[in-house]
Symmetry: C2
Subunit: 375 residues, 2 copies
């Protein structure tokens, strides 16, 4: 019998697992939040992932449950495990992706480099942190944030007043020093339940308004110490947090050459989309292999360089498909991926990958092809 993977969540990450599943002969089914989502083709069911019975019914006859996102509640995750379902990444690992305060505390225990941080329960605590850290701080809601949501740079606690007002009993916000970084990097790593892992080349990411806009693989001038340190951090987190499947570690590179852990994602991540056309094994194939505890694939690049540029928002009028002919005609070597989503300002609706032995060519081609899809 073919192996069967069940993915909770019908977004573009689930969609992008379809191709490698089909190629490897792995059965794939998706529990989608609604019909017509990005992963529609593999959606075997529409249902609410907050409901344990729904997810248990979906999990029947699959070899493993994995995820398009990190929002499945802990009681549902633990209910699955209690029912004997293989869940990767598991509930314990996912607590650190679901709660940034827990993540910071765990990375501190592991001695990993990260921005200075504190749990702040009220405005006075945040203002004290701000005044201790140069008059500004990053404040984050520990749960539910992504793509810049739930993250705010403040000079006074008053700017996060409604977040404090919304805190429940015993809840706190996360305050972090505002790191004066030179650039942002991302480290992808895949790890099997058995502990085996493989590491991708560290990439440079360019953010726009808190959203990943570009990734360049490998990160320019990273060969040697920088790549080694990023890989060591990736390995320490994957192992220390018992992550299974793909892990993305977002890093700040500071002016004095330190790497500090910014965020974690325990799934395929936007900063790894370049692997689809730029690496021997894509992060989506690797995630499937890892969560099924299959041997992992080669993470080497297919060309010297690979560049990914997001299509953010899409055309103001019409559909992405309307722009496809001109983009394909102008850029025959660009790999254009779209997610079956309607254009909306700031929304991730697709991306372009280019692999090339010349970095300037890869950057130019990917940016120019992506530009066809914007107004």
């Amino acid at each position: 019998m073919a192996l069967q993977v069940g993915i909770v969540g019908g977004g573009q990450l689930a969609r992008m697992m379809i191709a490698p599943a089909v190629e490897l002969g792995i059965g794939i089914r998706v529990l989608a939040e609604q019909s017509g989502m990005s992963a529609q083709l593999a959606a075997s069911q529409v249902g609410d992932y907050h409901d344990l019975d729904t997810v248990l019914a979906f999990a029947k006859d699959v070899d493993v449950i994995t995820f398009d996102h990190e929002h499945v509640p802990q009681d549902v995750l633990r209910g699955l495990v209690a029912a004997g379902v293989a869940v990767h990444p598991g509930p314990d690992a996912l607590t650190f992706a679901q709660d940034k305060l827990r993540m910071r505390a765990r990375l501190a225990e592991l001695g990993l480099p990260q921005p200075e941080w504190a749990a702040v329960a009220d405005a006075a605590a945040l203002d004290a942190f701000i005044s201790d850290h140069g008059g500004r701080a990053v404040v984050k809601t520990p749960r539910g944030g992504y793509d810049g949501k739930g993250v705010r740079v403040v000079a006074a606690a008053a700017e996060a007043a409604e977040w404090f007002d919304g805190l429940g009993e015993g809840e706190e916000l996360l305050a972090e020093e505002l790191v004066a970084f030179d650039r942002e990097l991302a480290q992808q790593i895949a790890r099997r339940p058995s502990g085996d892992f493989v590491i991708y080349p560290v990439v440079e990411t360019v953010q726009q308004d808190g959203v990943c806009a570009e990734a360049i693989a490998p990160a320019p001038h990273s060969a040697g110490r920088l790549a080694d340190v990023a890989a060591e951090i990736g390995e320490a987190i994957a192992t220390g947090l018992d992550v299974t499947g793909m892990l993305a570690v977002e890093l700040f590179q500071t002016g004095d050459g330190r790497l500090l852990v910014n965020e974690l994602a325990m799934r395929p991540h936007n900063s790894g989309h370049w692997t689809q056309d730029g690496a021997i094994t894509s992060q989506f194939e690797q995630h499937l292999r890892a969560v099924l505890d299959l041997p992992l694939g080669d993470t080497a690049l297919r060309a010297r360089h690979a560049v990914m540029v997001n299509i953010l928002g899409g055309p103001r009028e019409g559909a992405l498909a309307d722009r496809m002919p001109d983009a394909l005609a102008a850029h025959p070597a660009a790999k254009i991926h779209t997610y079956g989503k309607d254009p909306r300002p700031g929304r991730k609706v697709g991306h372009v990958n280019v692999a090339d032995d010349d970095l300037d060519t890869a950057v130019y081609e990917a940016r120019a092809a992506a530009a066809f899809f914007l107004d």
Copy 2:
């Protein structure tokens, strides 16, 4: 709105169009002959492609109808066109893929190099052809053959007696000289309805019992004249027969350096499977782009060499999936594709692609990985 392609036939060629359709954001639906076929994931309907009403219903709301195979009857094809459905390749082109006698006659009109041939209506005519061509000939049923079926090497007409007995009024068999070739090549070309086309590097194919077993891209020692001649033949056929979508031209290379046209396929073809992992644009993506009249993609290789080795038959006991862990563990850079089919002697159940700058490495890795799936 996203473009929609409808594929008649649920085999592995339809299956392998799923990945590029998902990536490009093209809607894909399949009319499968039965449930549980290779392209099951995209199968929107099960039905008989010999029935025009069934195919017309399937074709509703698609932008183009294309095919997993060449067996759809002409009356169905022409019924679709009459109803205003875009059909690529079209009925006229497909007659040449469906009837080898018509193909030979048309290539002769175009002045293209091919084995000597004749239409033979009875045993006497075939025996005369045999004695004129060194005592042996290849005899073929003009319709319905593939993968060595309907093809026989004979020294006397009596060896094809039941084929003559089965001929209807006015029907003939095809007799061809038995070419003493040095090796077999295959030329892939993609052509849009607008006439634009792109050409892949010519590949060497290795046949086993009439079935493609391996493909090596580009064909060793083909650079220069050989590649140019193969490309010219491909272009002449694509244009002369008005082929739309992918065309594969199987060629004999003779000891004196001539190329002779053996067979044609108007669809993605086994000799082009290497493009999935070895070329910038796979033949499956290219086929979708061509039949939708979208601009075509770059046909350049991703590495210096690419090798495809078929998995023929599969394990005598158990499923392909049982062998996957060991194969993946031993060959992390091999791309293993399986088709969701049960093993059966001689059946094409999957293939392995390896792209590498070193040819020996690519050949070794692909063969060794494929060998894990055989007894």
